[in-house]
């Protein structure tokens, strides 16, 4: 039997995932993280992007998180996401449109333009699209 740990993903709106996993990988504030059971306690922020879980039976699940916190205890991984969704639920058209809108906003900067907000929006839209691509690769 392979070693497992419990993984909980919750967002402010709902509980997304709860169950036993053998590996979690996601993007932390300062880089990619791959977490296996028995990891040292860690507290970090997470960046908008893909959260991959490998389940006990070897299957993989893909989620999207828009930012938040990650807490690791030796046997529990908790992801407190600002908003999170199952990758299947992301609306590709909406994500692509959001990305274009953010890029457009960045290129034609008006006087009262909130640069950091637009950058954050672009990062989120790009991350959503990346999640979808990841999912599609896996399907094939």
């Amino acid at each position: 039997m392979t070693a497992t740990m419990r993984c909980d993903i919750v967002s402010a709106e709902q509980e997304i995932f709860s169950g036993a996993v053998t590996m979690v990988s996601l993007r932390g504030t300062i880089g990619e993280l791959g977490i296996l059971p028995g990891h040292a306690p860690l507290l970090t922020g997470i960046q908008p992007g893909v959260v991959q879980l490998r389940l006990e039976n070897g299957e993989e699940e893909v989620f999207y998180a828009s930012g938040g916190f990650l807490e690791i205890q030796p046997s529990i991984v908790t992801i407190l996401a600002d908003t999170a969704s199952r990758a299947e639920d992301i609306d590709e058209a909406a994500a692509a449109e959001a990305r274009q809108a953010a890029e457009r906003a960045l290129s034609e900067q008006a006087a009262d333009f909130d640069f950091s907000l637009a950058t954050a929006q672009l990062a989120q839209a790009a991350a959503q699209l990346r999640t979808l691509e990841e999912l599609r690769k896996r399907r094939r």
Partner: protein
């Protein structure tokens, strides 16, 4: 026939009241579903957040936030979450009773209290009995927005940071089920260590990128989530309590109408019997 005119009028008025209470019951039932859904959605996040903060308070972090330091208690703050409207049975009264008992106990130990109130009912209650109210928030409604709450709550946090209060509690109702809501007082500040956790203060997290920034962000998020959840949960309690209160009122009205009808029919029958007796008596006399 003029018999029992007052009683008939009374029956009519009780029937009208009953119509109103049963309509309110139905309104509360439909609102309850929505508020409960709100509550259910937010609950996992708030609970996980509480767990993580519990772990953090148990750890021995390299950076200790002001919210994590236990101080000698000289003055406490309460954040009281009540409803805006009445007609919800003993919901608010039970909460206030619990709260006042707690405050009185602290008062006897020389610890005074500051109050920040959410909802009209708490405002009215503490206006009549007195108490040091530092902030009031009205009309947060059934789907509260965090931004509305933070303003008033900030008063308390500033007071905590400036050492004017040494502990902050949040008093609200816990939703057990539709029939049962129980008042609870949770300690919000300083952060509450997760009891039941045995390995205390001997380890620390790794922090990425840096403990101070991370803990500050996390603590803010934690406090927001707890307050939001308390308000949402209280809204669900309000609708459930209102539904039950209105159901009881409707049933009581039904019972009252039954009793009044009995009296009315008795009086009517007595009047008829008397009239017949009079006619018979009159005919016999002729």
């Amino acid at each position: 026939m003029a018999v029992g005119k007052e009683i008939r009028k009374k029956i009519g008025s009780v029937e009208n009241t009953q119509k109103i209470t049963s309509a309110m019951q139905m309104v509360a039932a439909s609102k309850m579903r929505r508020t409960q859904e709100n509550m259910r959605r937010g609950k996992p996040y708030a609970e996980k957040m509480r767990q993580v903060i519990g772990h953090l308070a148990n750890a021995n972090p390299e950076y200790r936030h002001a919210y994590m330091v236990e101080r000698e208690v000289r003055r406490v703050g309460y954040l009281v979450v009540s409803t805006d409207k009445g007609l919800c049975g003993g919901l608010n009264v039970n909460l206030f009773r619990e709260l006042v008992r707690d405050m009185a106990q602290r008062h006897s130990q020389g610890v005074e209290s500051d109050l920040a109130l959410v909802g009209n009912k708490a405002a009215a209650f503490f206006r009549s009995i007195g108490g040091n109210v530092v902030a009031v928030m009205h009309n947060v409604g059934e789907s509260p927005v965090l931004a509305d709450l933070i303003g008033g709550v900030k008063v308390m946090f500033d007071a905590y940071e400036e050492n004017r209060i040494d502990r902050l509690y949040i008093a609200s109702n816990d939703f057990v089920n539709t029939m049962v809501q129980s008042p609870v007082m949770r300690q919000l500040l300083p952060l509450n260590p997760d009891v039941g956790d045995s390995h205390q203060r001997r380890w620390d997290y790794l922090y990425e990128p840096d403990a101070r920034q991370l803990i500050e962000d996390l603590v803010v998020r934690y406090v927001e989530s707890q307050i939001y959840q308390a308000v949402v949960e209280n809204a669900a309690c309000e609708q459930a309590a209102k539904m039950i209160a209105m159901k009881n009122a409707t049933e009581n009205a039904e019972k009252l109408i039954g009793e009044l009808k009995l009296i009315y029919n008795n009086a009517r029958q007595a009047a008829i019997t008397q009239e017949i007796a009079e006619i018979v008596g009159g005919a016999a006399a002729v």
